[in-house]
C-alpha cells in the first residue's frame, strides 16, 4: 500500500480568511475542437462544457472550467478515495473521446493542487500580488480566470460569494501557500 502525501498538509485560518488544500480531487484536462466532441462529452457525463470564456458549468458530481477555446479542466466536486487512481470518469471519457479521436483527455489530478479559500478577505489577499481586476469577478458565481499571483500562474474559480477554488501547479504550491499566508497575516 502506498501512502498519500498531499502538498499542503496545513490548514490556515486568519481573521475573515481560511486557506486549505482540498484533496484528493480528480482533475482532468479536456481538449477538443470538433463539434461532435462537445456533444459527445455532454452525452457521456450529462454536463455541458462551457463554451463562453471565463465561465464554468457544474453537475452534482463534476465542475468544468473554461481554460481556452479548446481546453477545459474537469474536476470532482467531492474528494475521492486516496487508495486508487482509477477514475471512472476518465475511463468513460477515454472511450467516448480519446479512443475515437474526438479530442484528448489527460489526468492532471496531481499536476494541480486545489486550494480552497473562504472569507471576505480573499480578494484583498489577491490584490497584494495579482494584477487581475477582480472587481466584477467577485460577484460572478462560477466565473473562472487564469492569471498570476506572486508571479505564479493560477486558475481561480469563483465557487460562491467569498468562496474560491485556486488551482496551482504542485511544484509551486508550497511557495505560493507560504507567500499567501505571509500576506494574509497582515491583512
Amino acid at each position: 500500500m502506498l501512502n498519500y502525501n498531499q502538498a499542503l498538509p496545513e490548514k490556515k485560518s486568519f481573521q475573515d480568511l481560511q486557506i486549505e488544500e482540498i484533496k484528493p480531487i480528480m482533475k482532468l484536462i479536456i481538449r477538443g475542437k470538433k463539434r461532435e466532441f462537445i456533444s459527445a462529452f455532454g452525452k457521456a457525463l450529462n454536463i455541458l462544457l462551457p463554451t463562453e470564456s471565463n465561465t464554468s458549468t457544474q453537475s452534482d458530481k463534476l465542475t468544468a472550467l473554461w481554460l481556452s477555446p479548446d481546453e477545459w479542466m474537469l474536476f470532482s466536486n467531492k474528494p475521492i478515495d486516496e487508495n486508487t487512481n482509477d477514475y471512472d470518469t476518465e475511463k468513460l471519457l477515454n472511450n467516448k473521446i480519446s479512443k475515437i479521436n474526438l479530442g484528448a483527455i489527460t489526468d492532471v489530478s496531481d499536476q494541480f493542487v486545489m486550494i480552497n479559500l473562504k472569507g471576505n478577505k480573499i480578494y484583498e489577499l489577491f490584490q497584494t500580488g495579482s494584477p487581475f481586476n477582480f472587481n466584477n469577478f467577485q460577484n460572478k458565481k462560477g466565473a473562472v480566470i487564469q492569471t498570476i499571483l506572486a508571479k505564479i500562474g493560477i486558475i481561480v474559480h469563483n465557487q460562491d460569494k467569498n468562496i474560491v477554488n485556486l488551482f496551482v501547479r504542485r511544484s509551486f504550491s508550497q511557495h505560493l501557500f507560504s507567500w499567501m499566508n505571509d500576506a494574509a497575516s497582515r491583512l
Binding site: 498519500y4 479521436n101 489530478s109 496531481d110 497582515r186
Partner: protein
C-alpha cells in the same frame, strides 16, 4: 537657548501634543502635526545643510516636496538611517533623529565651504577641462571628488521594515486633494463611479483649507471653511476611497500609475513594530484626473540661496497651517499678487513685515490696498540686487528696475531682515502629465506650460491646468468635469465666488544687478549649485539644446529634479539664445515624481520570496537525509548527500561507485513531461525532432534531439509511445517551459492543421529512477506483478503497472549507462514509492544520488547535457550525433540551417573525449584547449565542457569541444592553465561500456 517663533494658532497643529526630537544632536520640541521643517523654524533654526558643489549654507526654502535645500539624514542607526529626506515632508514623531548632510565636521563649520571660495575655478563643466595630467592621476583626483560629492549616507545594514504591494483598479483616480481635487472627487463619486482620491499630505484641502481671508469667499463663507464642509461631506460617500500620505510617483501609459502609501513614517518608533511601512499602490484607472496644483517660483538674483530666503507661499503656510513665523523682520519680494496674500496672513497674526519689494511699476488690487492700509512700505518697480548674511540672511540691497527690466538704475537701498519671502509667480505641476506622454503648450501672458494633448483618458484641472485664482478654479472645474465625465450637472454649477487676486505679473527670468553676471551667484538649481552664469557659459560654449545645458550645468539633476528652477533655466536659455519659450520645448520629466525607496518598489519580493521555489514531491525526504541542493532554474534539486564529514568529492565518488556496483536512486521528477495526443502526434514529432518517429512501436521509448531553426541543439529527452496516438515526452529540467512554449507556437501558428494536443504533466508525476546491477531486483520487489524479464521488458521500452491500487508508468531507460528503471507515479504517491525502493534496496546498498553524481555517471557513458556540453553554437553533427539526424525526412525544425556554408564546414568545434596523461589530474571545466602553446596569437581550439574523476574507471575523464576534433582521435593537445600546462589526448567520448553490456544486463 533659541527663541520660540510659535504662534497661537495653526490649522494643523495640536498644541496639546508635544513631541521631542533631535537635530544635529540637540533636543528640540514641536507639536503633533509639525513637519521637521516647521518644528525647526519654530525653534528659529534656519541653517539645515550644505549645498552639493560649493557647500554653501542652506536653509528651508519651501513647505513641500519641491524642497531643494532642507534635506537631512534621518535616524542614526545603520539599518534604518535614510539619506536625503526632505525636512518639509517628514512629520515629526517621538524618537526622530535628524542631522545635516554634506558637511564636515559640522554644518556650522564645514571644511568643504572652501569650495565656495574656489568657485571661480569651478564653473559648469570644469571637470571636463582638467584633472587630465598626469594621465595616471585621474583615479587619485577622482577619489577626492567622490568623497566631496554625494549628499547623505547609505545605510550599511539590511532594512528591518516590511513593504507591500497592492493592485487597485478603479473608474476614476484623482491625484491631489486640493480644492479642485475635492470637487472632482465629489462629482465622480456621486455619479456612481468607483473613485480613488490620493493626497500626499496627511490632510485634505491643499492651500485653500488654511485660507481664512475675507478676500476669498465661496457662497459668502471664507473659502477655507466652505472647503472644510465639502471635505466632511465626501468622507461619507461610499464609492469614494480616500488615501492620504499617498504620493503618486509615476504615471505610465495605459493609465498605469504607481503611488506610495506611507503607513508608519509618522508614527513614534515604538508603534511601528512589524507594521507595513509603505504600500506600493499599482493603480489601473479607467480615468485619471490630475489636480496636482502648482509650485511657486523663486526669482533669480544674486545670492538668492541664503538660509532665511523662502518662497512667499511657504511663509504663509508655515504661519497659517503650522503656526510658525519664519522670521521677525520679514521682507517680501514679488512680481505678482500672491505675496500680498502672505502679507495679509502675517498681518492678521501680528508678524512684522519690514517691506514689500514688487518689481511691477503699477499695481492695483484689493489685496495691495489692504496691505498699504496697514502702512507697510511697498517698493514698486524695484528688485532685490543682492543679499547678505552667511548662515542666515541679515540684509538685502534693492535697486530700481529700468523700464525694460534689463538693468538696475538709481541708488542702492539697504534693508535689514531675517527672512525674505520670494514670489515669482506659479508653475503648474505638469510633471505627471508629461510623464504619461502628454504634450504641453506655452501660455505667453504668464509664461507657463499647460497640458495640451492628452495621451490617454485623463484630465488636468485646477492650478496644474493653469487656473490659479479661486474664481477660475470654481468656474472651470465643474465645467470641464461635466464634459469629461459626460454628466448633466454638478453641485457646483452656480457657486458665488469672490476673489481679489489681480493676475498682473512682471516676469523677468534673470533679474539684473549692479554687478556683472560673472561676479554674481544667482542660483537656478539650488541643490546642485547651478547658477545663471553657468547656463550662459554653456550656451557660449555651444551647448544649445536645453538637454545639453541641463547636463553640462547639472541643472535639474538634483533630488528635487528642478521642480523650482527648470522654468528659469528654460527662460534664461530662450532669452540668451533668442528662441521662443514655446518652441524651445521642455526637458522631459522622468519618473518618479517624488523618489521611491527601492524597498517600496520591491515590496515583499525579498528573502525567501525573492524568487519562486519549486520542490519535487520527494523534497522533504532529501531534506531529512541532509542533501545539499543545487539551483536548476527555479527548482531545488538534490545535488549530493554527504555523510558525516564527507565533502562533495567524497560523497560523489561514493554515490557513483554504489550506482554502478549496487544500486542508485535518483529523484528525476524535475524533468519536463509533456503529454502529446492526437492523430497527427507522430507527424508532429517527426517535424520537431531530428530523428524519425512514425515507426516507433507502441510501448517503446526513443531519445530525441530538438534544434532551433538556426540548427543549434535546443533540448533533448526520451519520448515514449504510450498508444497509437499518445506519447509522453520528457525535456530537460531547465528547458521544460520553453520547449512547451515552442511546441505550442509551431502547433498554433505554423501547423494548425495538425490534430495534436499538448498538456504539461511535469508536476503530475513523481519520477523515481533506480539504476545499477541490482535495480531489477529492487523494482521487482516494489512492483511484484510486473514481469521485468528482458524479453518482456527490454531496454528502451515501457509498461503500465500498479503499485497496490495505484497505476504508474515504468520506463526502462537509462541516463547513467546502467540497467535502470524510471517509475513515474502520481506525485502524491511519489515519496512513498521512493521510500519503498529504499526499503527494497537495503540489502543491495541502494544509494540515493544527486545531480552531481548523475552528471559524472552520464559523462563516463559519453551522454551530453544540453547547456553544459553544448552552447547555442553546437549542431548535432558537431556533437558527433549524426546518427540521430534523419537523412530521409524531408524537413524538421532546424534542418535547413545545417546546410549553410558555415555549418557544413569540416573543422567546426566538435565534441570529443579528453584523457589526461596523468590519470589523477582532473581538468577544470571551462579550461581552454590549444594545440600549439608557442603560437602567437595563441589559437584556442575549444574548451573542456565536463570533467570528473571517475571512481569506476579509476581515472579522470573529460568531455570537450575541439575545432576539427572529430579527426583528432589520439592526438595530443594542451590545456594551458595559469601555472602549468596539462597534456591531454583526444579520445572517444564514450569512456565506459561501449558495447552497452550494462544497459542490457
Amino acid at each position: 537657548m533659541t527663541k520660540n517663533l510659535r504662534l497661537k494658532t495653526g490649522k494643523a497643529i495640536d498644541e496639546t501634543y508635544r513631541i521631542s526630537f533631535k537635530f544635529n544632536g540637540s533636543t528640540y520640541y514641536g507639536f503633533k502635526g509639525d513637519t521637521l521643517a516647521s518644528a525647526l523654524l519654530a525653534n528659529d533654526i534656519h541653517l539645515i545643510g550644505r549645498s552639493f558643489k560649493y557647500h554653501r549654507p542652506r536653509g528651508i526654502m519651501t513647505a513641500g516636496s519641491e524642497e531643494p535645500n532642507a534635506i537631512v539624514q534621518l535616524h542614526n542607526d545603520s539599518s534604518r538611517t535614510e539619506p536625503n529626506v526632505r525636512a518639509t515632508e517628514i512629520e515629526i514623531y517621538e524618537g526622530l533623529e535628524a542631522s545635516s548632510q554634506n558637511c564636515w565636521p559640522s554644518v556650522n563649520f564645514d571644511i568643504g565651504g572652501i569650495n565656495n571660495l574656489l568657485s571661480p575655478l569651478l564653473p559648469a563643466g570644469f571637470y571636463y577641462k582638467t584633472f587630465m595630467w598626469p594621465a595616471s592621476f585621474w583615479e587619485k583626483y577622482e577619489y577626492f571628488i567622490r568623497r566631496s560629492a554625494g549628499l547623505g549616507k547609505s545605510p550599511t545594514k539590511p532594512d528591518p521594515d516590511i513593504y507591500e504591494h497592492k493592485y487597485i483598479h478603479c473608474d476614476v483616480l484623482i491625484i491631489g486633494a486640493g480644492i479642485s481635487g475635492i470637487m472632482a472627487a465629489k462629482i465622480a463619486a456621486k455619479n456612481g463611479l468607483k473613485t480613488l482620491l490620493v493626497e500626499e499630505k496627511p490632510n485634505l484641502g491643499g492651500s485653500t483649507i488654511y485660507q481664512n481671508s475675507d478676500h476669498f469667499k465661496i457662497n459668502n463663507q471664507n473659502s477655507g471653511s466652505w472647503l472644510e464642509k465639502e471635505i466632511n461631506e465626501i468622507k461619507k460617500l461610499k464609492n469614494l476611497e480616500i488615501k492620504t500620505r499617498t504620493s503618486v510617483a509615476a504615471f505610465h501609459g495605459y493609465n498605469f500609475l504607481l503611488a506610495r502609501e506611507n503607513l508608519t513614517d509618522h508614527l513614534p518608533m515604538n508603534q511601528r513594530n512589524d507594521k507595513t511601512r509603505h504600500k506600493l499602490l499599482k493603480i489601473r484607472a479607467k480615468k485619471v484626473i490630475t489636480a496636482t496644483g502648482s509650485i511657486e517660483r523663486p526669482m533669480i538674483f544674486d545670492n538668492n540661496d541664503r538660509p532665511g530666503i523662502l518662497l512667499s507661499s511657504a511663509i504663509k503656510k508655515f504661519a497659517d497651517y503650522f503656526g510658525v513665523a519664519c522670521g521677525e523682520k520679514n521682507i517680501l519680494f514679488t512680481n505678482n499678487d500672491s505675496a500680498y496674500e502672505t502679507a495679509i496672513s502675517l498681518i492678521q497674526k501680528g508678524i512684522n513685515i519690514e517691506a514689500i519689494i514688487d518689481n511691477r511699476e503699477e499695481v492695483n488690487s484689493k489685496l495691495i490696498y489692504e496691505v498699504e492700509k496697514n502702512n507697510i512700505k511697498i517698493f514698486k518697480g524695484y528688485t532685490v540686487a543682492n543679499t547678505f548674511g552667511y548662515k542666515r540672511i541679515n540684509k538685502i540691497s534693492i535697486m530700481q528696475l529700468s523700464k525694460d527690466g534689463q538693468k538696475v538704475v538709481g541708488p542702492k537701498i539697504i534693508l535689514s531682515c531675517d527672512c525674505l519671502g520670494v514670489s515669482g509667480g506659479w508653475t503648474p505641476a505638469v510633471h505627471l502629465f508629461t510623464q504619461s506622454g502628454g504634450k504641453l503648450k506655452f501660455r505667453e501672458d504668464d509664461q507657463v506650460f499647460l497640458p495640451n494633448i492628452y495621451p490617454s483618458d485623463q484630465l488636468s484641472i485646477g492650478a496644474c491646468n493653469g487656473d490659479f485664482t479661486l474664481d477660475e478654479i470654481l468656474r472651470n472645474t465643474p465645467k470641464s468635469l461635466i464634459k469629461y465625465l459626460k454628466i448633466k450637472n454638478t453641485d457646483y454649477d452656480n457657486l458665488e465666488v469672490s476673489s481679489s487676486t489681480n493676475k498682473s505679473k512682471r516676469n523677468i527670468w534673470l533679474l539684473p544687478s549692479d554687478k556683472i553676471l560673472g561676479k554674481t551667484k544667482s542660483f537656478v538649481d539650488y541643490q546642485n549649485d547651478a547658477t545663471a552664469k553657468d547656463i550662459k557659459l554653456a550656451l557660449r560654449e555651444g551647448f544649445r539644446s536645453i538637454e545639453h545645458v541641463k547636463r553640462y550645468t547639472t541643472t535639474g539633476m538634483g533630488t528635487d529634479q528642478g521642480k523650482l528652477g527648470n522654468m528659469h533655466a528654460l527662460g534664461i536659455v530662450s532669452e540668451t539664445a533668442g528662441a521662443k519659450m514655446g518652441e524651445l520645448g521642455t526637458t522631459t520629466f522622468r519618473p518618479p515624481y517624488t523618489p521611491l525607496t527601492f524597498g517600496t518598489i520591491v515590496g515583499r519580493n525579498v528573502g525567501e520570496y525573492f524568487d519562486i521555489f519549486r520542490k519535487t514531491p520527494i523534497h522533504d525526504w532529501h531534506i531529512d537525509h541532509k542533501a545539499e541542493f543545487e539551483n536548476v532554474g527555479q527548482w531545488k534539486r538534490a545535488w549530493y548527500y554527504p555523510k558525516e564529514n564527507e565533502n562533495m568529492h567524497d560523497a560523489v565518488q561514493r554515490e557513483s561507485k554504489a550506482a554502478r556496483e549496487g544500486a542508485g536512486i535518483l529523484d528525476a521528477s524535475t524533468l519536463g513531461k509533456i503529454d502529446i495526443q492526437g492523430t497527427d502526434a507522430s507527424e508532429f514529432l517527426n517535424r520537431i525532432y531530428t530523428n524519425a518517429w512514425s515507426k516507433l512501436a507502441v510501448g517503446k521509448c526513443r531519445y530525441g534531439l530538438m534544434l532551433n531553426e538556426d540548427g543549434m541543439v535546443y533540448d533533448d529527452g526520451v519520448t515514449t509511445r504510450l498508444d497509437e496516438n499518445h506519447y509522453i515526452m520528457t525535456t530537460t529540467t531547465g528547458g521544460a517551459a520553453n520547449v512547451m512554449g515552442k511546441l505550442e507556437d509551431y502547433l498554433q501558428t505554423e501547423w494548425p492543421e495538425l490534430d495534436v494536443y499538448l498538456t504539461s504533466v511535469t508536476d503530475h508525476f513523481a519520477t523515481v529512477s533506480v539504476c545499477g546491477p541490482n535495480s531489477k531486483k529492487i523494482v521487482s520487489q516494489v512492483i511484484p506483478d510486473l514481469d521485468l524479464s528482458d524479453e518482456n521488458f527490454p531496454h528502451m521500452s515501457f509498461k503500465n503497472a500498479k503499485i497496490g491500487n495505484i497505476n504508474c508508468r515504468v520506463m526502462r531507460i537509462s541516463f547513467t549507462g546502467e540497467h535502470s528503471y524510471e517509475i513515474n507515479i502520481q506525485a502524491n504517491y511519489g515519496k512513498s514509492v521512493w521510500e519503498k525502493c529504499m526499503e527494497a534496496g537495503k540489502d543491495y546498498n541502494i544509494t540515493p544520488y544527486g545531480t552531481e553524481t548523475m552528471h559524472l555517471l552520464r559523462a563516463e557513458k559519453g551522454f551530453i547535457i544540453v547547456g553544459q556540453d553544448t552552447d547555442a553554437t553546437m549542431t548535432p553533427i558537431d556533437l558527433q550525433m549524426d546518427w540521430i539526424v534523419s537523412k530521409k525526412k524531408y524537413d524538421f525544425i532546424g534542418k535547413r540551417s545545417l546546410y549553410r556554408s558555415d555549418t557544413i564546414k569540416e573543422n567546426r568545434k566538435q565534441l570529443v573525449g579528453l584523457l589526461t596523461d596523468d590519470p589523477n589530474e582532473v581538468l577544470e571545466e571551462g579550461a581552454q584547449i590549444v594545440a600549439d602553446i608557442n603560437k602567437s596569437p595563441i589559437e584556442m581550439l575549444g574548451h573542456v565542457t565536463s570533467s570528473y574523476y571517475s571512481p569506476n574507471l579509476k581515472k579522470s575523464i573529460a568531455l570537450g569541444v575541439v575545432r576539427g576534433g572529430k579527426n583528432m582521435m589520439g592526438q595530443k593537445l594542451i590545456i594551458p592553465m595559469e601555472k602549468k600546462n596539462i597534456n591531454v589526448i583526444v579520445a572517444d567520448p564514450v569512456f565506459l561500456d561501449k558495447e552497452n553490456k550494462r544497459l542490457n544486463a
